[in-house]
């Protein structure tokens, strides 16, 4: 149909690539199903790989037709973003690096280019060049979309883990009847402090604790905000009828607190968790009797 061919030559190369992708969707999807990226992700069923390929080709076609081959934000990509992220994650779980995934994405291009060259073998060189360029740019954008989706998915994972960490990183340990300890580790930002306070107060109620020990050995920096959080927690515990001891204040931190000018005199402190426990036991009326059979030399 020579007439139609003439008409096609006048259309925009991106649009023509879009039409080509739609026409050859099936063939492209079949070829992709055997490419590393699809083969290694859809291991169980080749049909699934072909299905996934079809969806991606369809998305590419929609983007090309809209003339936005360079635009990673183009609407056409929306439908495949999640699928691409899942594919990339599956590859990452299998041990592939981002660079490898990127290479595998790149390997999807040659089979499509071959088909395009076949189809346009009769076209003028200039037109052929424009169409292959449009296809190359489009495939580059697809790669970008995939890597972006991967990074965002990774970020979401981190955010979720961060939330989980807030909860699990605050264990309450029952040391003795009526004595609980909370070892704090890491940064005490405001969100974390809130969790610590709630956890501690809950434990005071549930375990009928008279003494709660907050151990800060694992807190790297005590600045005015952290100090304020500690004081608030101590005051709240006191309101609930429990005495709160802050232990694990290292020498460098003690000196820093003094220079900072913070008055922790309202807070009962002990150098180590062991000291705090000894004090707490004493308060409970318990006595620690050294074992006479112990071979340890007396100090």
């Amino acid at each position: 149909m020579p007439e139609q061919q003439v008409a096609e030559h006048e259309t925009d190369p991106a649009e023509e690539v879009g039409a080509f992708l739609r026409r050859r969707r099936e063939q492209i999807a079949q070829r992709w199903a055997d490419a590393a990226l699809f083969r290694t992700v859809y291991t169980v069923s080749r049909d699934d790989a072909v299905d996934a390929g079809r969806t991606v080709v369809e998305a590419l076609a929609a983007v090309a037709v809209s003339g936005r081959v360079q635009d990673a934000e183009a609407d056409g990509f929306t439908v495949v973003r999640e699928q691409l992220a899942r594919t990339a994650q599956a590859r990452a779980r299998a041990g592939a690096t981002i660079a490898q995934i990127s290479e595998e994405m790149d390997a999807l291009r040659p089979p499509v280019t071959d088909l395009l060259l076949d189809e346009l073998s009769e076209s003028p060189a200039e037109h052929l060049r424009e169409c292959t360029t449009a296809l190359t740019v489009l495939m580059g954008t697809l790669r970008l979309v995939m890597l972006e989706a991967t990074t965002i998915a990774g970020q979401e994972l981190i955010n979720r883990q961060r939330l989980e960490l807030l909860e699990i990183a605050t264990p309450v340990i029952k040391l003795w009847e009526g004595i609980v300890a909370v070892p704090l580790i890491g940064t005490l930002d405001s969100a974390r402090s809130q969790v610590v306070m709630e956890t501690l107060l809950d434990a005071v109620v549930e375990q009928h604790a008279r003494i709660a020990i907050l151990d800060i050995t694992g807190v790297p920096t005590v600045d005015s905000l952290v100090a304020q959080h500690l004081m608030k927690t101590v005051a709240a515990a006191r309101l609930m009828g429990a005495e709160c001891i802050v232990s694990g204040i290292r020498p460098a931190i003690a000196q820093t607190i003094v220079h900072l000018g913070i008055d922790l005199s309202s807070v009962l402190t002990r150098a180590s968790l062991a000291d705090a426990l000894a004090y707490a036991l004493q308060q409970q009326g318990a006595h620690i009797v050294p074992n006479p059979a112990s071979t340890v030399e007396p100090r």
């Binding site: 940064t187 930002d189 900072l260």
Partner: protein, 147 residues
């Protein structure tokens, strides 16, 4: 005494709680590299934490520039915290212990000044605040000016 100034080794943004963690970690790393003792490390990290938080909370965000300096063979670290916030109207009041315009303890600014060897502050209403602090890995190379 003339100080020789190294190039700015890093410029860190201060726009979130997470940035505060990065600021502290960076200062800790730099002071350790420069051979600061544990107490001096802890002091400077804590001062940085206060000043970075002020830039974030009161200044609406800003940045920290970190430069290693040396004077008379002594290594030091200079930190410049800057923001484009509302500025501090009454510096003496802001520096006094216990004054806060928010809900803090009001110990940050004055405390940071006590934790470092050199401290200067430049604040302009409506333009922003810049606080510059320096600490040395041993005794400061010149007597500390009375505050």
């Amino acid at each position: 005494m003339t100080h020789s100034t190294g190039s700015v080794s890093a410029c860190l943004p201060i726009n979130s709680d997470l940035d505060l963690v990065r600021v502290r970690q960076h200062v800790r790393q730099m002071t350790a590299q420069l051979g600061f003792g544990l107490v001096e490390q802890t002091k400077l990290v804590t001062a940085a934490s206060e000043l970075a938080r002020n830039a974030l909370v009161h200044g609406g965000g800003g940045q920290m520039e970190c430069t290693s300096v040396s004077s008379g063979g002594i290594q030091g670290l200079r930190l410049v915290f800057s923001d484009q916030g509302p500025g501090i109207v009454d510096l003496d009041q802001a520096l006094s212990d216990g004054y806060t315009s928010g809900e803090g303890l009001g110990m940050g600014l004055g405390g940071a000044r006590r934790l470092v060897h050199e401290f200067s502050i430049d604040s302009r209403r409506g333009i922003g605040t810049t606080v510059t602090v320096t600490s040395w890995n041993s005794r400061p190379p010149r007597p500390r000016e009375a505050p």
